[in-house]
């Protein structure tokens, strides 16, 4: 589904991302982990054609993303709050996204009604603008908006951050269902190793822009990841 070849991005000579080859098959739930500055958001931004690659390219369902816009109808994303339109209510925002993705009001209502649990009664029908919602509720609205229009690829940057524990658990279930039952390719990034190992079939570790681990998730993965990131801190301590 998503194929990355010789991709690199550099700013003023500093390379922030360098991926030789990465292939994500359809229906996989894919997790990206790494410390700050590892290149997770850069990769997602390249995938959404928000920044231009220095070399190489990403192919999304055989569409080269920086050459054609044909990947947009089946790809949706929530990167940060700048994806929200602050002066709309959550409902209006959902309808707007629905309009852009060819869904009428009834379709959107049908979809959002499935997330009543997830919203916990704090999003729909509150007569509040998105800009007046708390960070966590904004995130919930943004994530659900990314599910509108039956996308085949969903990209979520740090979806678990700022959410309360109950919502985190519900979100994990939603993401698992998407990949397992509906064949959606789900890409998430996170700092929380436990959440990613729970949700993702495959986990890639980025460090300073390079892929240094590519793991199929199994019961030992969490331990392995924890050991990896812990050794990173050991190494830096020794250097000092």
């Amino acid at each position: 589904m998503i194929y990355t070849k010789d991709l690199s991005k550099s700013y003023n000579g500093t390379t922030v991302l360098n991926v030789e080859e990465l292939s994500i098959p359809k229906g996989q739930s894919f997790g990206l982990v790494g410390n700050n500055g590892a290149g997770k958001t850069t990769y997602f931004s390249l995938l959404l054609d928000l920044i231009k690659p220095s070399t190489g390219n990403i192919t999304n369902n055989s569409v080269v993303v920086d050459e054609s816009e044909d990947w947009k109808p089946f790809t949706s994303s929530f990167i940060d709050e700048s994806f929200l339109i602050g002066y709309l209510t959550p409902e209006e925002y959902f309808y707007f996204i629905g309009d852009l993705r060819g869904q009428n009001k009834a379709d959107v209502d049908a979809l959002t009604s499935k997330f009543e649990d997830f919203f916990n009664g704090e999003i729909i029908g509150k007569k509040k603008y998105l800009r007046d919602l708390s960070k966590g509720n904004q995130k919930k609205a943004g994530i659900v908006a990314a599910l509108i229009g039956n996308p085949e690829v969903i990209i979520l940057d740090e979806p678990f951050a700022n959410l309360d524990p109950t919502t985190q658990i519900r979100l994990k279930q939603i993401l698992k269902d998407l990949a397992e039952k509906q064949g959606v390719t789900v890409l998430v990034s996170s700092h929380d190793l436990m959440h990613v190992t729970d949700v993702c079939e495959r986990i890639v570790v980025l460090e300073k822009g390079n892929v240094i681990k590519d793991l199929e998730t199994n019961p030992a993965t969490l331990k392995e990841l924890e050991a990896h990131f812990a050794s990173g801190t050991m190494a830096t301590q020794e250097e000092e």
Partner: protein
């Protein structure tokens, strides 16, 4: 502590991307400032002589004092629109061991160093010197000078009190209009002759230096009130928890007839009605509409036919210019999202285009009563409206592809330069100066009818080429996509 504050502000100012990017505006501002300094110096130096010529039988000193009241009101009005209480990002400081009173006193103290407080000195000091050289008593003149400086500071702090009140109102101009209107009205209808009272009290203070304590007391009172207002605002809950506004949802289903651009039109209309900056821009439409009334009632302008085109372009295109110059920066807050959505750029731009065209038509229709001042004016406005639709609309959309500045929708519009760059100044030339020049030239060389025809033909050519022009403009936007995303992601 003050040292730290100054250090912080220095860095904030020079490290902001705003400063680094908008050198043009800074230069223009300095230019304006120097111009005003020159004017005031001239006024201060020669006022005594001028008054001696104008009213030879009166004491110039008394005459000046009797008009201080008007200066007071004028200064207050000007400050309200131009001067803002210095802002300081206090959030990071609140949890540090700094007394709140230090922060408040610093902010207020800094406001006293504003340019607006120094400007009058350029008139007051030379005038005092000319008083001295004309044999006025030294202690009288010095007392008068200090009183004037205190009055300048009183205006300074009074303005912030008014601004604090207006910040809470929907119609933000109301408090200043009430205050200025009441002061002026009291004087004008002789209910309370403010003009002579202020004049006489200034005279008596000048002759009895001890009375200077009264203006000082007023100053301290205003300072204290400001202190109280500011200190009460210095809590996180008042700045963090902005008041939650109830949604005013209106039925926009009529936009459905525009087909595939309907979602964008609804979004644009909501953008305009639900944000402070766009809302106050919409309020300014009234001024744009009535702009002709500044000129047409005066017979002098009624013979200057080239002015018709200018006023026509300006008043029918007021919304077009004010809204259009910040396309696509209005959407800068969520531009990334739009770019990752399944949208056609052309639809996005066409929605803005149609909105601007509708505004031109509406403003023209509302401006039809100008026919009262002559049929030529109406025809010129009609030609200008066609020109706006055919030419200016495309020019301004094209200019938008050079926009690289983010806009914060929650700040009010008048004299808000955020988002303004060299583009906005340059775009004014083809928008306003060109039609006015073409019209004036043809009018002078050939005649009024030919000039009207020229504007209309240009407009119609633009309308005919609409599809082609839009394709070209859309391509421009696509070409600068990455640059825009990057620029809109930065805070200024």
């Amino acid at each position: 502590m003050i040292k730290h504050f100054i250090n912080l502000e220095w860095k904030q100012y020079f490290r902001s991307s705003y400063w680094q990017k908008s050198i043009v505006i800074n230069i223009l501002m300095v230019f304006f400032a120097l111009y005003f300094v020159g004017m005031f110096l001239f006024l201060g130096a020669f006022l005594f002589k001028i008054l001696g010529k104008l009213v030879p039988d009166q004491d110039p000193f008394v005459v000046v004092n009797s008009y201080i009241f008007y200066w007071f009101i004028g200064d207050l009005l000007m400050r309200f629109f131009l001067q803002k209480l210095p802002v300081m990002s206090v959030k990071p400081l609140l949890t540090q061991p700094i007394k709140r009173s230090t922060v408040v006193n610093y902010v207020l103290g800094k406001s006293a160093l504003s340019f607006f407080n120094f400007l009058p000195l350029f008139a007051i000091i030379p005038f005092s010197i000319s008083l001295l050289s004309n044999g006025y008593d030294t202690s009288t003149v010095l007392t008068w000078m200090f009183t004037m400086i205190i009055i300048v500071l009183i205006i300074n702090f009074l303005n912030f009190i008014i601004e604090a009140f207006s910040a809470e109102r929907e119609l933000s101009f109301l408090p200043i209009i009430v205050v200025a209107g009441a002061l002026y009205g009291l004087d004008y209808f002789n209910i309370f002759p403010m003009k002579s009272i202020i004049g006489e009290s200034l005279m008596s203070v000048a002759s009895n230096p001890i009375l200077i304590l009264i203006p000082i007391a007023i100053l301290l009172l205003f300072y204290g009130y400001n202190y109280k207002i500011l200190k009460s605002k210095l809590f996180l809950d008042s700045s963090l928890k902005s008041k939650v506004t109830e949604v005013n949802a209106s039925d926009l289903s009529w936009t459905k007839r525009f087909g595939d651009i309907a979602p964008f039109m609804q979004l644009d209309l909501k953008l305009i009605w639900r944000n402070k900056r766009t809302k106050s821009m919409a309020m300014l439409l009234v001024i744009g509409l009535l702009y002709g009334l500044f000129f047409y009632p005066q017979p002098m302008y009624r013979d200057m036919e080239f002015m018709f085109a200018f006023i026509g372009v300006f008043s029918t295109g007021f919304f077009l210019i004010n809204f259009g110059q910040f396309i696509p920066a209005w959407d800068s807050g969520y531009y990334k999202m739009l770019m990752s959505q399944n949208i056609k750029y052309e639809q996005y731009l066409r929605s803005k285009f149609i909105l601007m065209i509708m505004s031109v038509v509406i403003l023209f229709v509302l401006g039809i009563p100008y026919v009262y001042f002559g049929w030529k004016i109406l025809i010129a406005h009609f030609a200008a409206a066609i020109y706006n639709i055919g030419v200016n609309s495309h020019v301004i959309l094209f200019g938008g592809s050079f926009n690289r500045k983010k806009i914060d929708l929650d700040k009010k519009a008048a004299f808000n330069y955020q988002g303004t760059g060299a583009v906005q100044w340059l775009i004014g030339i083809p928008l306003m100066v060109l039609p006015m020049g073409l019209f004036g030239l043809t009018n002078w060389l050939v005649g009024f009818e030919a000039a009207i025809a020229l504007l209309m033909v240009l407009g119609i050519v633009g309308i005919v080429l609409h599809k082609k022009l839009m394709r070209f403009i859309t391509q421009k936007y696509l070409d600068s996509k990455y640059k825009m995303i990057d620029a809109f992601g930065q805070d200024n």
